[in-house]
């Protein structure tokens, strides 16, 4: 099966081409093509997983490829690397993608650009899978950029909405800034190691570090450059600003791209190039702190948001911060595990919110309420998702989050205790704001009766993915059921060693009492505010108005960046345009023409028309020439 793995990115790409060129006008055929290719990709991914499982754990890595371009001494390949990491990602991507595509059948049904939508989804999946199966740095960059394009296209899918167009542009540009670093990293790798191949680079780094021909600081530099890309794509601080805005895209897109898969690409990339990151504590520290900071930072913003999708977006940021932090502190497995579980429950949450939006045509949570009465399936599945993200055992989030907290606690990096407390506090915040969302939207009384009256449960195509994902949100975590540790034994870096040490579920619960406590505390507090209404959120907002405003306005980062861009970039552009128009063009170019014409005009004044003046010049010239020649 693995030898057909190259088909995984190719099939959706073909689907894209087919839809774009031939079936634009036939909605159903387009959707069918897209969904069928995705299903077959999923099947392939499953097949690959099983084939890998059959192999010896130490050699679960298959790679093959062909030359893409060649300039001695470089050879850039296009190829496939199948190992547990990519198999894991393949499953996640193809599965979520498949579900989202099914879901979209209902969600996008009335859109006139239905086929285009599916073509973009196919293209996205193709690019994402290209990235995932890549066996070299260049290809991963190629896929990386292509998913950026698809993200751009899908955020701007409703291009006629100015917000959507703006958000799309912002997403692409912010990502590009990160990608600039990534590209520099890739180029540096090419320059230093004369190859882009993961395996070769890995060997060369190991050799170089072993015989001290390569400074670990150098490797750390490369790693940090690469990490810039991850910061952009996984929307880590300070490049996080694009992701909330990306919610302007259709909700299934948010679920697929901006929650489950693409934004996780940064995490995946760090994991994929882990040998570079782990070479030096510096790069690890940077990664861990950026991740940790993003986690708490985004969670705090989520507290004060009103838009259902934006809350989820900030939650995504926060969870991505978790994953990055986990990788940074050495929790390779826990990071990837959280990626997997998060993909399930975050996709669930987004699709659930999509279901709500589909029903109400409304995104402001304060205009919702009491939806549990009308949308049973959505409510239940959403609740499962919320519990999962809050880290309540035995839902999936509990296992992965706890693993991360463990990893942070056990890590050896600089002041890891700060990170630990931050992570715990984030867990508390997460539970709080997620349940805030849940309570406000699904419980209590309807606030906007007009839209409430029209609300209805979503069609089957939308509910089916919700149910499937809800099931997964419960069960995926059990892969790492203490004592079983199936996931940890499959995806790991270096030599296999199981940490945490909990051998059964009870032990795990006792070990991780803190995280459970904070989660429960968060839920309780949230319930006090929004369910039982013991406290008034409005009063709190008034009392802590500066903090509330700060959070509500996302720490004014958009304004700050906007100000920087406007002042510096467009200011510079204004100055340079002025320079170009006035100095270079009018001054130098037209100026030289002007000077020439003026000189011509002045010189032709010497042609006075008086013939004796001419004679004077002639004789004068003879005398002057003679004097010049003689002296």
């Amino acid at each position: 099966m693995i030898q057909y793995s190259w088909l995984i990115p190719t099939l959706p790409a073909l689907a894209y081409v087919l839809i774009t060129i031939f079936t634009k006008r036939f909605k159903n055929i387009s959707a069918a093509i897209s969904i069928l290719t995705m299903a077959s990709c999923f099947a392939l991914a499953v097949g690959i997983l099983f084939e890998l499982l059959k192999m010896d754990p130490a050699s679960r890595s298959v790679t093959f490829g062909t030359t893409w371009l060649q300039i001695a001494p470089w050879q850039a390949n296009v190829g496939v690397l199948i190992d547990p990491l990519s198999a894991n990602m393949l499953l996640v991507v193809t599965f979520i993608s498949l579900l989202v595509q099914i879901y979209s059948l209902g969600y996008m049904h009335d859109d006139e650009r239905f086929s285009t939508y599916y073509s973009y989804l196919s293209l996205f999946t193709a690019s994402m899978l290209l990235l995932v199966v890549s066996n070299n740095y260049l290809q991963i960059f190629v896929g990386w950029e292509l998913v950026g394009l698809c993200s751009y296209l899908l955020i701007g899918f409703w291009y006629f909405k100015p917000e959507a167009a703006n958000a799309a542009k912002k997403a692409f540009v912010v990502n590009r800034i990160g990608d600039m670093g990534f590209l520099m990293g890739v180029v540096t790798i090419g320059m230093v190691f004369q190859t882009f191949d993961f395996a070769q680079v890995k060997d060369l780094v190991a050799q170089g570090l072993a015989n001290h021909t390569l400074a670990s600081g150098y490797v750390a530099g490369i790693a940090i450059l690469l990490f810039c890309g991850a910061v952009g794509k996984s929307a880590q601080f300070p490049l996080h600003v694009w992701l909330p805005d990306a919610m302007e895209g259709p909700t299934p897109v948010s679920a697929l791209i901006h929650a489950a898969t693409m934004v996780a690409a940064g995490v995946f990339m760090v994991a994929r190039t882990y040998n570079l990151f782990s070479a030096d504590p510096l790069s690890m520290t940077v990664v861990a702190y950026i991740g940790g900071f993003t986690a708490i930072f985004a969670a705090s913003i989520a507290l004060a948001q009103d838009d259902i999708k934006r809350i989820l977006a900030y939650s995504t940021l926060s969870q991505l911060g978790y994953m990055i932090m986990s990788l940074g502190v050495g929790g390779y497995t826990s990071g990837m595990f959280h990626l997997t579980t998060h993909a399930c429950f975050k996709a669930l949450l987004f699709l659930g919110s999509g279901s709500v939006i589909h029903a109400l045509h409304e995104q402001d949570i304060w205009k919702m309420g009491g939806l549990s009465k009308k949308m049973k399936i959505t409510t239940i599945t959403f609740a499962i998702g919320t519990l999962a993200i809050a880290g309540i055992p035995p839902f999936a989030g509990f296992f992965s989050k706890d693993a991360i907290l463990d990893a942070v606690k056990d890590s050896t990096i600089w002041h890891h205790e700060i990170l630990y407390y931050a992570a715990v506090f984030t867990a508390f915040l997460t539970a709080f704001y997620m349940f805030r969302l849940f309570f406000v939207v699904f419980t209590g009384e309807a606030r906007d009766h007009h839209s409430f009256d029209h609300a209805h449960e979503s069609p089957f195509t939308m509910c089916l993915p919700l149910v499937l994902l809800a099931g997964l949100s419960i069960c995926v975590g059990w892969l790492n059921w203490p004592g079983v540790d199936a996931y940890s034994k499959f995806v790991y870096y270096g030599d296999l060693h199981l940490e945490g040490g909990a051998s059964n579920f009870v032990q795990l619960l006792t070990q991780s009492w803190l995280s459970i406590v904070v989660a429960v505390a968060g839920i309780t507090l949230s319930a006090m505010f929004y369910y039982w209404r013991i406290f008034s959120a409005e009063k709190m907002a008034v009392t802590f108005r500066p903090i509330y405003l700060l959070l509500k306005n996302k720490y004014y980062f958009d304004e700050f960046y906007g100000w920087i861009v406007k002042t510096f970039l467009f200011g510079l552009a204004t100055i340079l345009k002025w320079f170009d128009d006035e100095v270079v063009d009018d001054g130098m170019v037209d100026g030289s023409g002007w000077v020439a014409r003026k000189m011509g005009g002045l010189l032709s004044l010497t042609q006075t028309g008086y013939v004796q003046n001419y004679a004077l010049v002639v004789f004068g010239a003879v005398a002057v020439i003679f004097l010049l020649v003689s002296f």
Partner: protein, 104 residues
Amino acid sequence: MNNIPLVHFLYLAGILFGIGMFGVLARKNAISVLMGIELMLNAVNINFLAFARYWNWNSLTGPVFVVFVITIAAAEAAVALAIIISIYRHLRTANVDDAHYLRG
């Protein structure tokens, strides 16, 4: 045979050439300008003959040149006067300055 040094003839020619030049440059009237030119040509003639003597009449080139110069100067004078008369018909003047419509 006189023994006036060659350079004295040359000086004389130079001075006459200068005077002729001055006439060409400074006189207002076209005919005066023409006179200046004639003087310059005569200075040339003095030079030729002086050098011919200096070269011991080794060739007749000098005097021959003078013959041609005189002839051509006469032709030139005739042509000049024709043009001056023609221009006089238009401008009612023979001042060189007054013909300066072509310029720039």
